[in-house]
Symmetry: C2
Subunit: 219 residues, 2 copies
């Protein structure tokens, strides 16, 4: 049995992968003990800003995948994340008493700027493997912590439990498997330089995921 | 009142635009008199092959539009055209007795190769304005003939009338207006070289639309 390329990449991230998926942010989210007015507010205002760059990255992946059959699940996922049904952020902002003014007046955090730049840069200048490396980190790390905390999640406040639900379950697992599968396939066709470039993007994305959880707890 | 950039482009196409939207293919389609076993069969087998290149083009446009708000209608349209509900082709192939074998054994027509190459080339190497120029021709020319024949369309065979319905009506009008609006906006920001490049793509696409209708009637 050969090791999957994506498993190799995750192993290269070493303990940083585990620090992300066992982060206190995800534990406190599941337990419902997270400080909503500091940690959750900081996190959500910035996280919402990734949506546009994430859409650019996903659309570029759809354009670069080899066949129509490969593009279809990506296109359906893009429609979901850009769809009017994706109201979690709006409802959470309202529940936490975050005004439009407060949202718009809050400057981008340094880590937000770096994450958006990584997504857009790889979408416009990277190979398909590099694009997939970045999006796979985003979705796979979230699925991994989502699965870990799902069964212990307290269900009294949608602001916390719905964020867990959005990152666990069969549908989201299929999305992650879709990105991993294509990254495995692309990985098998890369030469040494291509593999290194792909690995660098993967590790850069892992680094930024950890920085982002840390950011939520204060600079 | 200023002239819309897209109206200027259409005027540059001159009589060729009118030849497309008044083509005998569209008249015979609406009247239901089209020869299904030669013209319609030739047309549908080849037209179905554009779907993948069209998806690449649309996904690239979504990636290059300026804001998330701009991307959303494109993302929803991409999900529709790549969605499982888009069954017209499959039902039409069945109704016309076209086997999978016949479909797959029919080589790409020269015009099909040219159309797919134009869509993919502009998606990977063109400016947003050039991408929009190509997709606008595809959708706007079809809406224009669809609107012209809609009220005289005979409704006894879905193979003919459903193809008219797919290219007329409010929803499709909104799709075309969405592409035109973005092309108008991009056009306003182009320098002379950019305008010429955009115009060339537009006229190339118009040329291929006419060639494609002509192809359906035999080489």
């Amino acid at each position: 049995m050969t090791t999957r390329f994506t498993d190799e990449l995750r192993l290269k991230a070493g303990d940083q992968w585990n620090r992300i998926i066992h982060h206190r942010f995800t534990k406190e989210l599941a337990a419902g003990t997270i400080d909503r007015q500091t940690v959750m507010k900081r996190y959500l205002i910035q996280d919402h800003r990734f949506l546009d760059s994430f859409s650019v990255l996903l659309a570029s992946i759809i354009a670069h995948l080899p066949t129509l059959q490969d593009r279809i699940p990506g296109a359906q996922f893009l429609a979901v994340i850009t769809g009017p049904e994706n109201t979690y952020f709006e409802r959470a902002f309202q529940a936490l008493g975050i005004s439009n003014q407060e949202r718009h007046n809050t400057p981008d955090a340094a880590v937000t700027t770096k994450i958006c730049a990584l997504m857009r840069n790889v979408a416009m200048n990277g190979t398909l493997a590099e694009m997939l490396a970045v999006i796979t980190v985003c979705e796979w790390s979230y699925l991994s912590w989502g699965q870990l905390v799902f069964h212990e999640t307290k269900r009294d406040d949608f602001v916390t439990y719905e964020w867990v639900d959005l990152h666990s379950g069969d549908d989201f697992e299929r999305v992650v498997e879709y990105f991993r599968l294509h990254l495995d396939r692309e990985g098998a066709m890369l030469d040494e330089a291509g593999r290194i470039a792909c690995e660098n993007r993967f590790l850069e994305a892992v680094q930024l995921e950890e920085e982002f959880f840390e950011y939520a707890y204060g600079d």
